[in-house]
């Protein structure tokens, strides 16, 4: 499982998001230091990363709160807590659900062939 946090340095919220994410990992018995933290430094980088704002947390490439049609860019991201409040960080409950969904997604065995094996998810 690949857990990533992408951030822009101009937004002050990513340390809290990282702390929440590590706590959720810890609760799940996973290594809290396994988070890959990456800075997005330019608008071009935001476009390449499909980065709609800071912080963005992905588990196996899937955003923990799908951004819909939000434009990419270097900005703070607006999240909604489950109680409706606006927040600069995702609801920890959404992090737990995303982690659970990722852990439940089965990994299919690679088909036997002479080619190198690849892992795919259903």
């Amino acid at each position: 499982m690949r857990v990533e946090l992408l951030f822009w340095a101009g937004c002050p919220s990513y340390p809290q998001a990282l702390s929440d994410l590590r706590e959720v990992l810890r609760e799940a018995g996973l290594d809290p230091d396994s988070v890959i933290v990456r800075e997005v430094e330019s608008e071009a980088g935001a476009a390449t990363e499909r980065f709609v704002g800071s912080p963005t947390i992905r588990i196996d490439g899937v955003d923990v709160q799908p951004p819909g049609d939000e434009p990419v860019g270097l900005t703070c991201r607006v999240y909604r807590r489950r109680d409706g409040r606006v927040s600069p960080t995702p609801d920890p409950a959404d992090l737990r659900d995303a982690l659970r969904d990722a852990s439940l997604t089965p990994v299919l065995p690679a088909p036997s062939s002479s080619l190198p094996s690849t892992r795919t998810r259903a």
Binding site: G10, C11, P12, S13, P71, L74, T75, C76, R77, V78, Y79, R85, V86, S87, P88
Partner: protein
């Protein structure tokens, strides 16, 4: 940068209908540097607007028409000159002026964007102090929010 106790910069900026507004002419004036899409500004917005009422001008108009500003003038600082004059750092960044345009408080609305029960306590206390002719205590708190992205 204007220090507490000094006269704040004057300005004239248009609202979403094109009418210009200047600070002053009131017992106290609150200048809030804000943003349509900053989560800190949005989280604090109701607490700020309640007390006394994706950065395009069109998006600003939408918010006004939705009644989100409750009669508070929502001005556009297109060139960012006013923000630079005030040395605004974040959204939100709040400046409370007295009747003479003297800066009396600068900083955050309260101690936690994530706790609605704080009710913009620092802003309320500063306004109450200014209206009663007292110096706000504290006169300054660190502004918290999205850093302002400056045009080149």
């Amino acid at each position: 940068m204007t220090a507490i106790g000094e006269r704040a910069p004057t300005f004239a900026l248009p609202d979403t209908s094109g009418a210009y507004h200047e600070p002053g002419g009131a017992p106290a004036t609150v200048v809030v540097f804000t943003c349509n899409h900053c989560p800190y500004a949005l989280a604090w917005h109701e607490r700020i607007a309640e007390r006394y009422p994706r950065d395009s001008a069109e998006a600003m108009k939408v918010r006004v028409e939705r009644g989100e500003l409750d009669g508070v003038p929502y001005l556009r600082d297109e060139s960012q000159e006013v923000a630079r004059d005030y040395d605004a750092k974040t959204t939100p960044d709040i400046f409370v002026l007295d009747a003479d345009g003297i800066l009396r408080y600068r900083g955050a609305p309260d101690g936690d964007h994530d706790d609605p029960s704080q009710q913009a306590a620092w802003l309320r206390a500063a306004l109450d102090a200014v209206l009663e002719g007292r110096a706000p205590d504290p006169p300054e708190t660190p502004p918290v929010g999205c850093s302002i992205k400056w045009k080149e």
